[in-house]
Symmetry: C2
Subunit: 574 residues, 2 copies
Amino acid sequence: MKLLKTGTHAAVGCVLLVLLILQTEATMVRHNWTVDYMFSAPDCVEKLIIAANGQYPSPPIFAVEGDTIVIEVTNHIPTEGIVFHWHGIYQKGTPYYDGAAYVSQCPINPGETFTYKFKVDRAGTYFYHGHFGMQRSAGLYGSLIVTLPDHKKEPFSYDGEHRLLLNDWWHKSIYEQELGLNSVPFRFVGEPQSLLIEGRGKYNCSLLPESTASPPGCLTCNASSPWCAPHVIPVTPGETYRLRIASVASLSTLNFILENHKMTVVMADGHYVKPFDVYNLDIYSGQTYDVLFTANQDTSKNYWAAINVRGRNPLTPTGLAVIQYLPNPATLLPTTSAPVSPVWNDTATSLNFAKKLLAKPGYEPPPPKKCDRTLVLLGTQNEINGNVKWAVNNISYVHNATPTIAALKYKIKGVNNPVPPPDFPAESYNIFAPPSPPSATYGTPVYVFEKDDIVDVIVQNANTMTPNVSEIHPWHLHGHDFWVLGYGDGLYNASRDPASFNLVDPPLRNTVAVFPYGWVAFRYVADNPGAWPFHCHVESHFHMGMGTVFAEGVRHIPKLPLQTLGCGLTKKHL
Amino acid sequence: MKLLKTGTHAAVGCVLLVLLILQTEATMVRHNWTVDYMFSAPDCVEKLIIAANGQYPSPPIFAVEGDTIVIEVTNHIPTEGIVFHWHGIYQKGTPYYDGAAYVSQCPINPGETFTYKFKVDRAGTYFYHGHFGMQRSAGLYGSLIVTLPDHKKEPFSYDGEHRLLLNDWWHKSIYEQELGLNSVPFRFVGEPQSLLIEGRGKYNCSLLPESTASPPGCLTCNASSPWCAPHVIPVTPGETYRLRIASVASLSTLNFILENHKMTVVMADGHYVKPFDVYNLDIYSGQTYDVLFTANQDTSKNYWAAINVRGRNPLTPTGLAVIQYLPNPATLLPTTSAPVSPVWNDTATSLNFAKKLLAKPGYEPPPPKKCDRTLVLLGTQNEINGNVKWAVNNISYVHNATPTIAALKYKIKGVNNPVPPPDFPAESYNIFAPPSPPSATYGTPVYVFEKDDIVDVIVQNANTMTPNVSEIHPWHLHGHDFWVLGYGDGLYNASRDPASFNLVDPPLRNTVAVFPYGWVAFRYVADNPGAWPFHCHVESHFHMGMGTVFAEGVRHIPKLPLQTLGCGLTKKHL
């Protein structure tokens, strides 16, 4: 009897184990990537880019909410390290796989293989990208789409869906861009040469009209250069489509338009919003929107999907894709001219759109009613030893060769600044004039929070080094979403402005824009032990120091995997 | 008395200590370098280069024989690792500071500071350069000049000296070059755009004659672009000069000429040779020559110092510098046309020059009379999975993310090939035809020798993948000099050819050329515990696999400094 009972137990245990294995297998999404240089001509001008598996954009990842994603990355680039940041993914329990070089891990050295393994907690439209130097600008990015499991349903319906990764594009290498930004005199990257939709665009040697002039590096539009055709969005007349729109732009605010088609915004950064209709929408680098549209126009024609630059005086032609009304051929190009967006400096329209974004009642949690700590972070353009820099509360962020998370976990001195960065800027600072004199310093600051602290962050914008200029900055927080409580013009007033905060149905997101001479306020819960970059998502701005790090629950940070270490002072702590 | 005696002893000890400290200080040559990208226009066309301390070429190092050189390097490049190889320095006892990425050390990560510390054993003309990917081609190199201490005298006399670092130069970035070499179809780097002397050259937008056409990126020749003037070698009429000539060329065999001046060759690769006179000399990448010349021509004129391409059908204009007969102004340019070198494919002249190089009797040690082991290494152009590669005895060298030396020292498996590479090529190989079929494989081979083994190496040349083409390869051995015992045409014959070896006065050097369809034999003593690359010094050839590693005295390899580790599988062994 005893033996039999044990045997029965063993059998039950075995079945459970098999079930567990089956379940584990079912929820693992595995990719095997080789990252290398690649010649590519996204806008018909060939240049060197960085990509995974020879695909540009890099391979899309598809997963179901709750899945574990396992990406084995081998770096084949001769001399550059790489990392991958999974933008919008919390990385709860795996802060070391957030993929921010020198914050959450050492770069993956040439020749090394590294395995990212993390859970995707929430359905939505996300993406991933390089987060070392300006490698995102070199083309290293792709889509990360998380869908609902079968037993859950979206609060909207549609017949099909399309991904649209948006980007701006330069012909100059990122190495020259990076050096220019670090040079005295300063050499800005300038406005992009092209705008890309799903990795396709056109420079002046491309389709429509067929160009006769052929600048150096330009490919001709024929079968041997398939890049030189716009991205196509096939639709069946009468059907409704979900567009998963994401911007990985390096610099530009993009305005997205579907020619003749109304769009209903249903999600922002993977969170449900109260649906509202638009004919165009502003998307800042680091943001995603899910919109619905119905193919309800004249079926004899195809239409443009278009992006234009806003927020900066645009020097870049419209980026175009084709909405192909089936069964029309994809080559039936619209004869209409490129759709026009609101004028670039019409901030009121942008702000109006931003304020329409409200959480869908019943679908998203409301924010806590009070906060434990408030930071006011002033972003300024600055100058240090003749170099043009950006700074947060007067500290221009510099990466250290030892990852921030390792320095926190192992109490390594000489890495992160020992003095906490200021919670507030100087009270006397005049946001309406260039910094006078510029007084920023270099640093590797870390704002340290207790686990579960509720934190309000006000990001304050200011005048650049140029009189009467204030730029837009899309601020992105790793490891978290935050509730956007409100926007304001001018200087944030701590005694007056919090009264205007929306604590009822503010939208949750991971990236929010601060408008010229204005401020934006958000609240988040520091419930994710780790070290999380908070930075402007403009590639050149972060490269010039516009960021900081939020660390929380430091003593709860899990053991760091060996593969994430090996650089800087971590050599001593393996 | 006891106390007094102790006091006296203490005083004597103190004086000795002070003397010791003073002596130690006197023999330390310290440099502090920051390595970064830099915009530079060596031939008047601006491009991104890599350099130390914003200088191109990087700062020269001057030391006295027996000195210890201490170079503290900080890597400021955003995403690339770096290393420095000290070409021609033995690194006795410090094999981990030889500076070959992934052979002797992990690359220095962005943001890290690394300190090289090594002794220079022997006076002579040397240089250093990047040894990771193709970073030497990106401009990362400089002079390393070791002079005799006061109590020693050179066996020749001169009144002054000048350094002449020679190079070939491309406008395309090394990233595009590296990718092209790894692409299918293959994209060769092509012939260089310019030839540089001490980091100066001219493209077609430069001086002499002043060009009216201005290609993109070309600088105009004026005070704001001081690059756009040739390097100047000032001489006082009647005086004798020592030229320290070194080639860091990426591809080209260079022929050096002093217009109207005879040169006396006195040293090769830091070793004395029997002096002989030449009007021009071939120098292969990785070699140095010390020559003497007397400024004994018409003093009313200046003269050209010139380099031309040999060994490949030259498409690159002559590289020119000016010999300035003082007090003539440097701007008094010669009115003569650029000096002409022997025709590019006249191998007989090259071989004749090579055979004139003999050790100066009484100044250099003769080779051991016998060897313990002989390797015949056949270098072939090959094809693997459609990629054009180079191979040694059919193995195309691939770097592993774990340094060879660390894998040997810590017995780390899965790094170096477990099976020793072959000591001989297949007997049936036909060196006069393209490999048929190409059959090379990728590998990370290591030839392992006992400490103090005497090794003969025969490097055998062959036909490339193109019928009737065999290229010149300058082979460089790290950590050693070797005696060049002889050259031969065609296939090496092990029973016949050793009889012709020069065992009396063969020259010692670290880099030797193998001529088309020929072989070269050398002998060396494996007396330097470490792992030493032996490779073709053509940057693209080594990048395409034309190299191997010689390891010796493995159990005598000293403990590896922590700073040299952290990559690949060494993470587990810190």
